[in-house]
Structure formats: C-alpha cells, structure tokens
C-alpha cells in the first residue's frame, strides 16, 4: 500500500456492552488515541448467546462497537489495557492492520507534562 501513498496503522475494534463502553473510551483517551467511532445498537451471536440490537426500555444492556485507528507505537498500552478491561466482562477485541491517507490525523499526542 506504500505505493499508494498510504501509511500503515493499527485498527482496534471492540464490541462491548454499552455500560462498559465508557471504560474503553477512557482507556483510548488515556493512551493518546486521537479519536474513535462508536456504533450503538450492535447485534450478533456469541459466547453469551444472541444479542439484540436494541431493547425498548433499556439502553444500557445493548452492545456498542468502538473503532479506533492508531499508530503502531501506541498499540501496546491500548491492547494491554483492553485485555485487562475485557478480562472479566463480555466483549471482544479485534486488532488488524489498516492503511490511512492522512497519518497525522491519527497521531494526536497530548501535550507533554
């Protein structure tokens, strides 16, 4: 992909309960990830059975998918942290390569302290 002028990044996708998505987002923020995308109303089937996309009177039990793209150098704390978060709660994490055209968009380091 280099010949297309694209830069390699790491894509992390996490599917977790809406209740736990805040912890995931806080972790991404603490790890210096510049942004992420959240998809609510995710449905599917897995270890815990069928998951409906949306319940009428309960917004918290549904599933959320959080997608983040980050430079490879930032992957270690994110993956380590996510592993710890998902150790005792339902959810899955997928890590894969991704190629982006504007790498500076995904390298939002926080100011040094």
């Amino acid at each position: 992909m280099n010949e297309l002028g694209l830069t390699r990044m790491v894509k992390v996708e996490v599917v977790t309960r809406a209740d736990d998505a805040d912890a995931v987002r806080t972790l991404l923020h603490a790890s210096g990830v510049s942004g992420w995308t959240s998809l609510s109303g995710v449905s599917g089937f897995g270890h815990h059975g069928t998951h409906e996309g949306r319940l009428l009177f309960n917004d918290r039990a549904g599933l959320v998918m959080v997608i983040a793209v980050l430079p490879p150098g930032r992957a270690e704390p994110v993956v380590t942290g996510l592993r710890a978060i998902l150790a005792h709660r339902p959810g899955v994490m997928f890590v894969s390569d991704a190629w982006v055209s504007r790498p500076e968009y995904f390298d939002g380091d926080r100011p040094a302290t």
Binding site: L27, L55, L56, F57, R60, L82
Partner: protein, 1399 residues
C-alpha cells in the same frame, strides 16, 4: 402575680425535664414536654406584657449570707430579661414541638427532650437571676447540658472528639466567668446584681479591667468568638432541632451577660474597645468562613459566628439596646433557617427549572431603584438624627436593600410592577429597620454609651480588615480561601512533628519513579484498565434532586451475589446481610418456618455427613440446621469444661491465616503498624476537597480557579497554598504537587508506583481506595458519564487527590515511626505480623454446637475423630457469613411460600373483561408497589379494570418548562430521553414565575450580602416569626408547588414525528396487553409524593419517571392517545381505539392518597358523569388506602392525619414509599385481583396470549423488572447497613451544593442510598430485606427465550441478585429458575391445593 408568673415560667421546663427523666415512653414524653414548653412560652409572653407596664419584677425567695459574699436566690425580671425569657421559652417550645415529629422513634429522643427542657430551665434560672451566684450556676449548668446535646450521637468518634474539645473549652470559659464575677463581688461584698451594677463605677480600674477581661473570655467561648469558635460547627453533628436550639438560643447567653452587666462593661477601662476588636474580627472572619462553605447547615453555622461577633461589637460600641434587638432577631431567624434547612434542596430544584433571568439589567432601572432605596434610608436616618450607631445601622440596612434590589432587577423580563414592588419593599423594610431598632432599644430601657474611642476602633478594624482582605484575596487568594475553609485554623507549625521535609520526600519518591519510567503513557493506560475493574465495586450515584434508585453493587452484577457481597465485606468493611440473631428471632416468631430453613439448606449443599451421637443418628441437614438455629458463633460463652475439651479436640487441626497485606492500602498498613489514623485523615481531607469542588455552585466564594477546571487540575493549583493543613505530613505539600503530572491518569500511575504497589495489584488497590469514600466515588462515576451537568469529578481525579494525600501523610508517619519509605513492601516488612481471621473452627463455636446437640464435655472428649471432623466442618462451613446467606434464602423462601398461598387462596376476583357497558373505566397505574393498594381499593369501590405499567407510560422524553434553565428526564435510569419536549411559553404563567423568582432572588441577595446580612437577619426575623405561626395554622401554604409543566400536543409534535408517536403508543398498549375492548374512559394515573422540607422528596416520586412526579408523563401520553391521527395509525396496526373512548390523565399523591385528574375540561360532555363517578370512587379508594396505611405508620396516626404529613416540615417519614417491596409480578390482573398483597409487589400487566414472540415480555423483563430489581437492592442494602450503604439518619443531613446530595453533620462522605427513616421506624426495621422475587405468568419457553437473548438479565438471575419463578398458565404450577440457570428447575413446594388461573 408577676413573681408567680416568673416562677411558673421556671417551673414549666423544669417539670418537663423531670417528666422526661421518669417516664419511659418517648412518644408520651415528647407530647407532654412539647405541651409544657408551649404553656411556658405562653406564660413568658404574658410576663412580657406584664413588665411592659411594670418595668422590673424583683422576687427574692431567699437571701443567703454565708461566710464571704452575701447573695440572693430568686427571680428578677426587667423588660430585657422578659424578652430574653420569651425568646428562650419560645424557641424551646418550637424545638420541642418540631422534635416530637422529627425525632419520632429515634433512640435517645427522650433524653434529648429532657436535655432541651433542662437546658431551657437552666438558662431561665440564669436569665432571671437576682445575683451573680445564681447567674453563674445557671450558666455553668446550661453549658454542661449543651455539651450533652452536642454529644447526642456519641457513638461516632468525631462526635466524641468534639465533645471532649468543647468540654475543655467550656471549662476554661466557666473558670473565667467565676473568676471574673468573684473579682467583681470581692471577698465580702454583695453578690446581688443590682448592687454590683450600682457599685461598678466605684471600683478600681484595674479590677474592673481584669474582671471585664475574664468575662469577655467567658463570653467569647460561649458565643463562639474567634479564636474560640471552632466548637460551634461541630454542633451540626447533633439533630437539626438541637442545632436550631443551640445556634438560636444557647449561644446568645454571652450577649445576655454583656447587656446585663452593661454598667461594668462601660466602666471597665479598655474593655469596650477590646470587645469591638474581638467582635468585628469575629464578624469579618465568620462572614468569610460562611462564604466558602458549600452546604446549607455549614454556612448557617459560620454565619452564627459572624452574627455573634457583630452583636459583641455592638455591645463594645455601647449600643446595648441595638445588641439586644439583634440578639432576638438573629435567634428567631436562625432557628427558622435551621429547621427549614431540609427544604433547600427542593428550593434549588425549583430554581433550576425556573425561567432563566435575561440580563444584563437595565442600567437606568438599577440607578433609579438604588437611588430610591438610598434616599429612603438617608431620609429615615436624618429624621432620627444621625448618630454614629445610627449611621452604622443605615449602612447595613442600605447595603442589604441595595443588594436585594440589584438582584431583583437582574432579569430584564421580570414584570416592571414586581421591580417597583421590590424596590418599595426594600426601602420600606430598610427604613423600618432603622426606626424599629432604636424604638425597641428605648423600650427595653437599656443604656447606650457609644464612645468616640469605640467608633474609632470599629472604623480602624473594619478598614484594616477591608484592606487586608482585598490585598490577600488579590495576591494570596488561594491561601486565604484555605484559611477560611479550615475555619481560620492557623496550622500546627509549633508541633515538632510538622516536618517541612515531608513534602519534599514524597516529591522525591515521585520524581524517582517518573525518571525510571520516562514514558508513562503505558502506565496511564494500565491505570485506566485497572480502574475499569476497580470502579465496578462502586455504583454511580445520581444527584439527589433526580433521585434514582441504584443497586450499590450494580457494577458487580456479573459476579454472583454471594461473591460480590463477600468482596464488599472484605474490601469495604460493609455489612451485607441482617444479623443472624434477627433471623433466629423470626424463626422463633414463626415468620420463618423450619421447612423454609430446610429448603434453604437443601439449596446450599455442604460436605457434612450424618453422625451418630448417643446411639441416635443425626442427618446432615439436621446437624446443619442445629448450627443455624443455635447461636454457635455469637452465643453466650460455653461452659468452661466443654470449652476446654473442644480446645483439646481442635488442637493442631488448622492454623490461623493472616490477613493478606496486599488487601490494605499503605495508609491502612501504617495505621495498623503504629496506631495512627492516617486512613481516616485522608478520608476527611479528600471528602472536604470534593465537597468544596463539587459543591461550589452553592458557595458565595467558591474555591478559586477557572470554571472548567476539573477536580484534579483545581486541586493541583490550590493544594500547595494550604498553609495550615493542621496535620503532620502535609507541610511542604507544594513540593509534591509540583512534580505530579497534570494528567490524572499519569499522576495516579506515578503515585501508585511511588507507593510501591505492583501493577498486578493496582486494580485491588484502587478498589479499596474508592471504597473508602463510596459516596464521592459514586458521584465521580456519575459525573464521568454526565460531563458538564454538574462540577466535573472523575474517578481518576478522586484517586489522584487521594493518593497524593496518602503518599504525603503515610510517608511522614512511616518515616517518623518506622524509619521506612511509604511503600507496601517496606511498611509490611517493618510491621509485626498479626493473626487475622482464623481458618479453623473456633473452640467456642464447636463447644456451643455440641451443647446444642446435647453433648456434654465427657462425651465430646470420647467422640470418634470422624464425628469431631464432621462437627468441625459444619462450624467452618456455616461461618457467620455463610449462615447469613442461608438465613436470607430461608426468609425469601418463607415470603415466596406466603405469596403463593395468598395468590392461591385469596378471594376469587370478579370476572375480567366484563361487558364494556358495565365497566366504568380502565385505569392504568404505575407498577410501583404503592399503586397495588390503590388499585385494590379502586376495584373494590367500583367497576374499574386496572392495569400496571411503568409510570412514564412508555414515552422516554425530557421536558423543559417554558423558559426554564434545565429540563427533566422523564424516563427510567436505564434509558436516555429520545426527544426534548419544550413547553410553549404561556406568557401569563411565565411572567408570574419570573415575578416569583425576582422576589426569591431579592431575598437571597440580601441574605448573602456580606455587610447587609447583619441587618437582614433582624428584618427576616419578623418574616420568620410569621412563617413559624403560619406553619402551625396553615402548613399547606408551605408545600412545594406541584409540577405544573403542561406541554401541549403542538409541543409534542415539535419533538416527535407522528410515526414516533405511534411507535411509542403501540409499544405501550401492546406491552400492557390492552389492545382491544377499550372502555369509554381510560385513565392513565402516574404518581408523585408531596412532602415539605425533605431532601429526599424525589425518592418518593416515580422512579420510572426518573425521580419526577408522574402526572406530566401521564398527561403527555393521554394527549398523544387522544390524537385522531395517532388512533388512525394505530388502527392500521391492529389496535382499534374507538373514537368515543377518551384517555384521561391523573396523578396519585402517595402521601395523601388523593388522585388529581388533569384536563377534565377537555373530556367530552357525554363522559362527564363517568368522570364524576370515577372521581368519587377514586376518593373512596384513597380513603380506604389511607386507613390501611395508617396502621403501618409509626404511632398509628388517624387516617385523616395522613393528609397533614404532606405539609409537615418536621415530618421525616411522609410515607413508607417502597419499603417492604419484595416481588415483581408480570401477569394478567386475574392472577392478583382481590388479593391483599400489602403494597409489597410491583404489578405489571402482561398477557402472554398476545405475545407469541416474547417481544412484550422481553421489554418487561429487560426494563421494568431490572429497574424494580435495582430499587429492591437499594432498599436491601440501605437496610442491612444503613450507615455505610444507606444514608444514615436524616436528622443530621445537610444539603450540599446545588441539590447535589447531602452530607452528615459537619462533613464526611457524600451520603448514598436511603436514609434510616425510609427503612425503619427507629426501633425496628420496617423494610424486610429480601432479594426481588420475579413471578412471570407465561409458558416457560417464552421466559427462556427472553433469558437466552439477554445475557445481562440472565446474569442477574443466575447470580442470585433476584429469583425468578415462572407460573405455568396451563397448570398454575410455580417453577423456580434457580441460580445457575438450570433448565430443569424443581417445582416449588405446592400450596394446599392447585388451581387453574386461566380464565
């Protein structure tokens, strides 16, 4: 006649105190004491009238002439004394009357009434004393009783410490008083007051100065003058009526002393300037202390300090008459302010939803109004003839009036008429204040001798204070704020332990860690991950104005109930079950039957095997039951010989295990090692900071820093300026702050490493740290998901502040006492190991068990080893914690058995779905347990079919009242509103609300004015007196206004499309099962509760409506269902709502059981007779329910008296709300109709025959059922540990911030859960803590389908957070779904006869 009247006044409280001491019944005592003190107040009023005509009433009973000074004993009353006597008696009567309801059922209420009466009597003895000896005796005895009142909750360590400090201080003050009076009298003088006053001018100057100085010291102590003021805030740890009594009455004795001895004060050289100096320093300091406070009672307490200072300064200036007026005015106002402090939360909630002020104010209006006020004040003063004290009064009154006017005009949209009225009122009140003060002072005939020196000292002191304050605030604002926050504490710099290097050592530790790990980003991520797990141990807590029931262990619902509660016991030290002794009592009383215990034991298998004792075989279950039925762990000591044998038989069996040091924080490890209380100190510091930060909207001078600063950023900015931390270890904190990272996650990582916590243990360490303050941790969890709604405080912020304090304090202690750095390893290594929980059977428990089995010592000695092993196993397995679990299961089994029996054998209901013509109406109520009673009574009253559904009636919206600041979310906590419905502005109503707000703002601004407040309290005392009277004769006028938000159909259209409206309407009707056979009238009845002066008012409202009243939701949905377009679309979806059916909205007031119907005018004329009939039947049903509920309330009031509870400001239990809740039944009404379920069940309508895909059932089980389980678990935990998992007693609560929550007394953690008064009547627990029993009337496969699709729900059932029972519609059989989710659940024990439930 007059002397008899005075003696009568004295006899009243004395006899009340005596009665309280000898009569054991607290309710009777409260009644009689209240009546006696009331009569005393009437007599005191008569006395005042009497002395108005005859200025002095001397009545010497006996003249004593012992060796030394001669003195009289008796009474002596002049106008001022009579006024003071009336004040004390009036306050005592009000406090006793208020306390009778407020403290009903409280342990120690009788003692408190006795002390109040006795303190009143002692103060009256002092006030009417003809001699200094009697005065001193009354003073000292009243002080002693006052200390007893402060120590009402003596079981709390901080109360005991406060009592000790106050006692020492009072001893000093009393000593100074006695010495000063003795000097005045001389060795052989006349100790009579008149003689001392008359001879004051003849005494030597040095003697008068010394005596006066001593009396000033005594007065300073008793009236909390700086620096002897710090005892006063601790009075907040006593019940509210006591605070009112102390702040309004008892602290005034110093003013009384100075006014009574005015001739001595005037004659003593230098005394008056000293009084002015002390008084003004106290007034200024107290005002600043009050300005930084963020809780209502805390602010009031500091304002008392300021007001007492002002009064002393008035005495010092020689304006004794004005001082007397201020004394009385402040006392009445302050009493009212304390007694009504609980209403602050409701007022703040109201203000938040009131119209936004539109600024800036019009300059011309402000100038004109200001000029009018200044002119009124100036003219009045000139008319009176300007005097130094008059000018001072004019400045005070003018400032207060200007502040009020300016604030009232801040809203451009407020009606001009209101602005003019407020300006006129402010001018008139300021002028009236200037006229009335001197007039009253003249009537009191008190001396006035304002001297130039006094005025000069006053002016100089105020000038110095103003300049110093301005300079300090500008240059050292942070340090000045800390000084004020710590109530003027000047630090512990003289202590050798204040090691200035402590902060530097902590800073070095952090620097070293950061240098070692130069990139701390991975650490920050690890911290977040560790916190995600740690945070599970604490549930989010919603602000109190939108009280939301939360399971305190909501984050641990993934783990089984037994394990989660065990962790909570271990980590947080909380109690998670009722004491087993309570369950044994229930077994004895028959509430739990042996069969229930056996069933619970069967469901909790153990390893015990049958044993043979004395030739008889004891089955394992009987053996275990014996261990449960007898107090083997908590019983009386066994006989010595049996115990000795048990010890021998157990010798060498199992070693004791040690506490795992990894479980403790470094602060706790240091505390354990050297006996310090660093953990508690850190708790106090962190809780104080959180209250300052999160409560800052309520402070007049909030903690400095930009508005958008987070908690940690603000703390970093401020912490280094804390010059007087008063605790060793915090000196030099600035050095530590400087090296800590700005990002809280990195700071926590660095601090954890500095404390030597291994990364693997971070999560556990953070859990334990959070659980030290579960209230603030819960708020932090809420704040994290609601950014910007209130002052931000994240769990990371909280932990960063906590660990910083911990490192500093524990570091200092570890260095000084152990000589090691503050790391887990180093402190553990330096500590001698201590034995922890024994892992083996305790000999005493074994001995008790064998005793229970009828085995004596010789037999035990000879038992085979295998038998002893079995007995040991039983003792170990059935540990106290395990026993509690089994007992809980037994209690739940008993309830389930009774519920089934009741449903099986209750009165057969009339057939449902009767002909439409005979049904008066169909009424849909909230599923709330309180609706069960009303439904039952309504069905009995007439042909009404009732249904149950969540009280928001399926429409999750936020409503915003016209022009309001903030909206209200009207949906359960599990949901977020799907739309915001904004009420269309009704110009007249908005104008009226703006006018009301302008008056409120004016009042608040005058009160908050730093200078004007001194005049304000005197004016406000007149209003307070009227309010006190009005509360007695027309309390209903003080009930908070009902939520009158009334969005129209047009407003609804603006928020939701027609399709969305139809979607929610259909979902609601289908979930209820009401899709056909509509009656001509359908009532949607929400619920709300009217209560007054109640911070927990929202807890009584509808949980399904987000802690709001349900009437608004009912109106919205009724309007929606009445729309022809909606009906047309519904018909297209198979729901034919006939055109001649009208949907009506109503609201059930659960305190009064009255039902208010809305928009009756819109009902078609042909249905009016039906509405009238329904109204009558609802009234009948309400009366029936009141009669039923009255029998369950403390003291069994008459049913009609329940109506009063809504407007009773002293009522701590307006109703029982959801106490007793135990089951959730989703079924057709046929299953439950006609059965008295005791207002303990949530009733949700459900008809499985219309729900083939379990869609409706899924909605019920994932929404209302989960909310019901949370409510149930909140009640459960608030009952089993009311002090840690509940909010403790309401009587010491103080409202924090802008309706954020409450604190207890003088500080501490933010309170969580429900107050003690919601779950018990003081002597017994009213709520029976059982986990929710869900009863679903549906085929098993439908329930299994729902469970299969919803893992979170399955976890609740499998983990034992609630129990689930399926009622088979075909057979009526009850099948439990056991924890663990077995698909082949055993049937529950059958009732006496099986019945078919299907109609």
């Amino acid at each position: 006649m007059s002397v008899a009247l005075v003696l009568g006044v004295l006899a009243g409280p004395a006899s009340a105190a005596l009665y309280a001491l000898v009569v054991p019944d607290p309710r009777r005592v409260a009644r009689v004491v209240g009546a006696l003190l009331g009569l005393t107040a009437v007599a005191a009023a008569a006395l005042l009238v009497r002395v108005a005509y005859d200025p002095a009433v001397p009545g010497v009973l006996v003249r004593l002439d012992p060796p030394g000074p001669a003195f009289s004993v008796g009474v002596r009353v002049d106008r001022f004394t009579a006024l003071f006597v009336l004040l004390v008696c009036g306050l005592a009567a009000v406090v006793a009357g208020y306390g009778r309801r407020y403290l009903d059922g409280e342990p120690g209420a009788r003692g408190l009434q006795a002390r109040v009466a006795a303190a009143t009597a002692a103060t009256l003895v002092m006030a009417t004393a003809p001699s200094l000896v009697q005065l001193a005796v009354g003073w000292i005895v009243a002080g002693h009783l006052l200390i007893g009142l402060i120590g009402h909750y003596r079981e709390q360590p901080r109360v005991r410490a406060a009592v000790r400090r106050t006692r020492r201080l009072f001893l000093l003050g009393d000593g100074a008083l006695v010495a000063g009076l003795a000097l005045l009298v001389g060795p052989a003088g006349d100790a009579d007051l008149d003689a001392v006053r008359a001879s004051a001018g003849d005494r030597p100057g040095w003697l008068l100065a010394t005596a006066g100085g001593l009396l000033l010291v005594a007065g300073m102590v008793r009236s909390a003058q700086v620096p002897a003021h710090r005892w006063l805030p601790h009075t907040l740890d006593a019940p509210t009526p006591v605070s009112a009594f102390l702040h309004a009455g008892m602290v005034n004795v110093a003013g009384f002393l100075m006014i009574t001895l005015a001739p001595v004060v005037v004659a003593a050289p230098g005394l008056m300037p000293a009084m002015v100096l002390v008084g003004l320093v106290t007034a200024v300091s107290g005002s600043v202390f009050a300005a930084v406070r963020t809780d209502v009672k805390g602010t009031l307490a500091r304002s008392t300090v300021a007001q007492m200072g002002f009064m002393l300064a008035q005495c010092g200036l020689g304006a004794f008459g004005l001082a007397a007026v201020h004394l009385v005015g402040h006392a009445v106002y302050k009493a009212y302010a304390f007694l009504s402090a609980g209403g602050a939360l409701q007022a703040q909630t109201l203000a938040a939803t009131a119209p936004r002020p539109v600024g800036p104010p019009r300059t011309r209006a402000v100038v004109l109004a200001g000029a009018a006020v200044v002119a009124a004040v100036a003219l009045t003063e000139l008319t009176l003839g300007a005097s130094p004290s008059g000018v001072l009064s004019a400045v005070l009154a003018g400032t207060a009036a200007l502040a009020a006017v300016r604030s009232a005009l801040a809203d451009r949209e407020a009606p001009a008429r209101t602005a003019v009225a407020i300006t006129l009122a402010a001018g008139a009140l300021a002028g009236g204040y200037l006229l009335a003060g001197p007039a009253v002072a003249r009537w009191l005939a008190l001396p006035t001798s304002v001297t130039d020196v006094g005025v000069g000292v006053a002016a100089a002191t105020l000038a110095v204070a103003a300049v110093a304050g301005a300079v300090l605030r500008h240059r050292h604002g942070a340090a000045l704020w800390w000084w004020a926050w710590r109530d003027g504490r000047v630090g512990a710099w003289w202590r050798p332990s204040a090691d200035p290097a402590a902060g530097k050592r902590a800073a070095s530790a952090v620097t070293a860690v950061r240098r070692r790990d130069s990139s701390d980003r991975p650490d920050a991520a690890r911290v977040v991950a560790a916190l995600a797990a740690a945070g599970d141990h604490v549930a989010a807590i919603w602000p109190l104005d939108t009280f939301v029931a939360v399971n305190p262990l909501a984050g641990r619902e993934r783990t089984p109930f037994a394990r989660a509660t065990a962790e909570l016991r271990s980590l947080g030290g909380a109690r998670t079950h009722l004491p087993v002794a309570e369950y044994r009592r229930r077994l004895r009383d028959g509430d739990i039957e042996p069969a229930d215990l056996t069933a619970a034991l069967t469901a909790a298998p153990g390893t015990a095997t049958p044993i043979t004792l004395g030739g008889r075989t004891i089955p394992a279950v009987d053996l275990r039951a014996a261990a449960l039925r007898h107090p083997i762990h908590d019983g009386p000591p066994p006989s010595p010989d049996l115990l000795a044998v048990a010890r021998r038989r157990l010798a060498g069996r199992c070693p004791a295990v040690l506490d795992d040091p990894d479980q403790l924080t470094v602060a706790e490890l240091v505390d354990r090692a050297v006996g310090t209380r660093i953990g508690a100190d850190v708790d106090e510091l962190v809780a104080g900071w959180c209250a300052a930060h999160a409560g800052r909207p309520a402070a007049r001078w909030p903690v400095p820093g930009p508005a958008d600063d987070g908690c940690w950023t603000r703390w970093r900015r401020m912490a280094g300026a804390d010059l007087a931390p008063a605790r060793p270890g915090l000196t030099g904190l600035r050095a530590l702050v400087d090296v800590l990272p700005a990002a809280p996650d990195r700071a926590v990582a660095a601090l954890l490493r500095a404390l030597g916590v291994a990364p693997a243990a971070w999560s556990a360490y953070l859990s334990r740290s959070l659980l030290r303050l579960p209230g603030w941790a819960g708020y932090a969890r809420w704040s994290q998901t609601h950014p910007g709604e209130r002052p931000d405080l994240t769990p990371l912020d909280l932990l960063a502040v906590r660990l910083s304090y911990e490192l500093a304090l524990a570091g200092d202690a570890a260095h000084r006492h152990l000589g090691v750095p503050p790391t887990v390893t180093a402190v553990t290594a330096a500590t001698a190991p201590t034995p922890g929980t024994p892992g083996a059977a305790e000999p005493a428990a074994l001995a008790r068990l064998t005793q229970a089995l009828g085995v004596d010592a010789p037999t035990l000695a000879l038992l085979p080893e295998e038998t002893v092993s079995v007995l040991c196993d039983v003792v170990v397995e059935l540990s106290p914690a395990r026993q509690a679990e089994v007992w809980l299961a037994a209690a739940e089994h008993a309830y389930r058995r009774r519920l089934r029996s009741r449903l099986d054998h209750g009165v057969r209901p009339r057939p449902r779905r009767a002909a439409r013509a005979t049904t008066l109406a169909q009424a849909v109520f909230c599923i709330d347990v309180r609706s069960e009673g009303l439904r039952r009574h309504l069905e009995a009253a007439g042909p009404v079919d009732t249904y149950g559904f969540a009280g928001f009636f399926g429409l999750p919206v936020r409503t915003v009242a016209a022009d309001a600041n903030r909206g209200r979310d009207r949906c359960p906590v599990l949901m977020r509103p799907v739309a915001t419905v904004e009420e269309t502005a009704d110009a007249t109503r908005v104008r009226r609300r703006r006018a009301r707000q302008a008056w409120r703002r004016a009042f608040a601004a005058a009160k908050a004015s730093p200078v004007g407040a001194f005049a304000f309290v005197e004016v406000a005392s007149v209003l307070a007196t009227s309010a006190l009277a009005l509360r007695a004769v027309a309390p209903g006028r003080f009930a908070p206004p009902a939520d009158d938000t009334a969005p129209t159909v047009a407003d609804l259209d603006a928020a939701l499309t027609l399709d969305e409206q139809v979607y929610y309407a259909e979902a609601t009707l289908r979930t209820i099962g009401l899709t056909a056979g509509f009656a001509p009238l359908v009532l949607l009845c929400g619920h709300g509760a009217t209560s007054t002066n109640n911070p927990y008012a929202a807890a009584l409202d509808c949980g399904a409506c987000g802690g709001n009243r349900g009437g608004v939701s009912a109106r919205l949905v009724a309007a929606l269902l009445n729309r022809p377009e909606v009906r047309e679309a519904l018909a297209g979806r198979g729901i034919h709502l006939p055109a001649d059916t009208h949907v009506l909205a109503g609201e059930h007031d659960t305190v009064t059981d009255e039902v208010r119907l809305f928009d009756v005018d819109a009902v078609p004329a042909r249905l009016r007779p039906r509405v009238d009939d329904l109204t009558r039947r609802l009234a009948e049903a309400g009366a029936g329910l009141r009669a039923e509920r009255a029998t369950k309330l403390p003291g069994r009031p008459r049913p009609r008296h329940l109506l009063r509870r809504a407007s009773d400001w002293a009522q701590v239990r307006p109703e029982w709300a959801l106490a007793g809740n135990a089951a959730f039944i989703a079924a057709p009404r046929e299953l439950t109709a006609g059965r008295d379920l005791g207002c303990r069940t949530f009733l949700h309508s459900y008809d499985w025959t219309g729900d083939p895909d379990a869609v409706a059932l899924e909605t019920i089980m994932t929404g209302p059922l989960v909310v019901a389980a949370w409510i149930n678990l909140q009640y459960y935990f608030s009952t089993v540990d009311p002090h840690r998992l509940g909010a403790g007693t309401k009587t010491v609560h103080t409202v924090l911030g802008d309706a954020l929550g409450v604190l207890s007394g003088s500080g501490g953690d933010l309170r969580v859960g429900l107050p003690l008064q919601s779950v018990g009547d003081g002597t017994r627990t009213v709520h029976d803590p059982l986990r929710l029993l869900a009863v679903i009337h549906a085929p098993r496969h439908l329930v299994e389908t729902v469970l299969g699709r919803n893992p979170a729900l399955r976890q609740l059932v499998d983990g034992g957070w609630m129990s689930l029972t399926v009622v088979d519609p075909r057979t009526g059989g009850w099948n439990a779904v056991p924890p663990g989710g077995s698909r082949h659940a055993p049937a529950l024990p059958a009732a006496e006869s099986e019945k078919e439930y299907i109609a």
